[in-house]
């Protein structure tokens, strides 16, 4: 696969990861979701893009470099944060409101990591682009 296309798939994945982190941060004070469950911090899972054929045959490693893809978005296994606030409309019978236990520092670290990975993808894309442009200059006269 083309190096530029691989870098582009990485850009796509990091873009979506940032969206998931933004969702987590935006839902810090969400006491319940539409389904009635407490909100849980989400994580984006990504992995190399393997063809269905190769997966069936059990061939994990292929010689050709592969692009990356989003495998899914799964809730994190962290618990919930319970706050005693009987005046809140969302409070239960015992007067507690359930908030997601989102680790702020962890989310921030992940966000910086995501932004750096995006940057690295852009650097690789630029390098591939430069190599292509140099190859176009091959044999150029004047």
């Amino acid at each position: 696969m083309d190096a530029m296309q691989i870098s582009r798939s990485g850009l796509d994945v990091e873009w979506q990861r940032l969206q998931v982190i933004a969702e987590n941060l935006a839902n810090v004070n969400t006491s319940r979701t539409a389904g009635g469950e407490p909100y849980r911090a989400m994580r984006l899972l990504s992995g190399p893009k393997a063809s269905f054929d190769a997966a069936v045959k059990g061939k994990e490693t292929t010689l050709a470099p592969q692009a990356v893809q989003v495998l899914g978005i799964e809730p994190e296994g962290t618990g919930v944060r319970r706050v005693y606030d009987p005046n809140d409309p969302q409070a239960g019978a015992d007067g507690f409101v359930t908030y997601p236990a989102i680790d702020h520092a962890g989310e921030m670290t992940l966000m910086i990591q995501t932004s750096r990975a995006y940057e690295a993808d852009l650097a690789a894309l630029n390098m591939a682009h430069q190599m292509y442009a140099r190859a176009l200059d091959l044999g150029k006269q004047s």
Partner: protein, 105 residues
């Protein structure tokens, strides 16, 4: 990118010896692989599709910003690169033609 088939040699043997007489391979042109014109027009078609995809993405991006911006810039860059490649091919063609036309006999 469209894979470019290697150009078959026109005639075997040193070309300098065949310039005076009729080259033995000239009567029947080599028919292996697609003709150069076909390759050229296929390349131009791919340039055009890339341009139109980039155009579509720009329009889509202007209408609704859920399209990631790197998709748009990537498509634009791909289109630019393929146009540049086409320009290089054209420059080489014209250069070769001019060289032949300016040959002093």
């Amino acid at each position: 990118m469209i894979p470019v088939a290697p150009i078959a040699p026109v005639a075997s043997g040193p070309a300098i010896l065949q310039l005076g007489g009729i080259p033995p391979g000239a009567a029947q042109p080599p028919t292996s692989g697609p003709a150069f014109g076909d390759i050229l027009s296929a390349g131009m078609k791919s340039v055009e599709t890339k341009l139109s995809t980039a155009d579509d993405l720009v329009r889509q991006f202007a209408l609704d910003d859920s399209v990631p911006v790197h998709k748009v810039t990537y498509a634009l860059e791909q289109a630019r690169l393929s146009v540049e490649l086409a320009m290089q091919v054209r420059a080489r063609l014209v250069e070769g033609y001019r060289d032949l036309m300016n040959m002093q006999l």
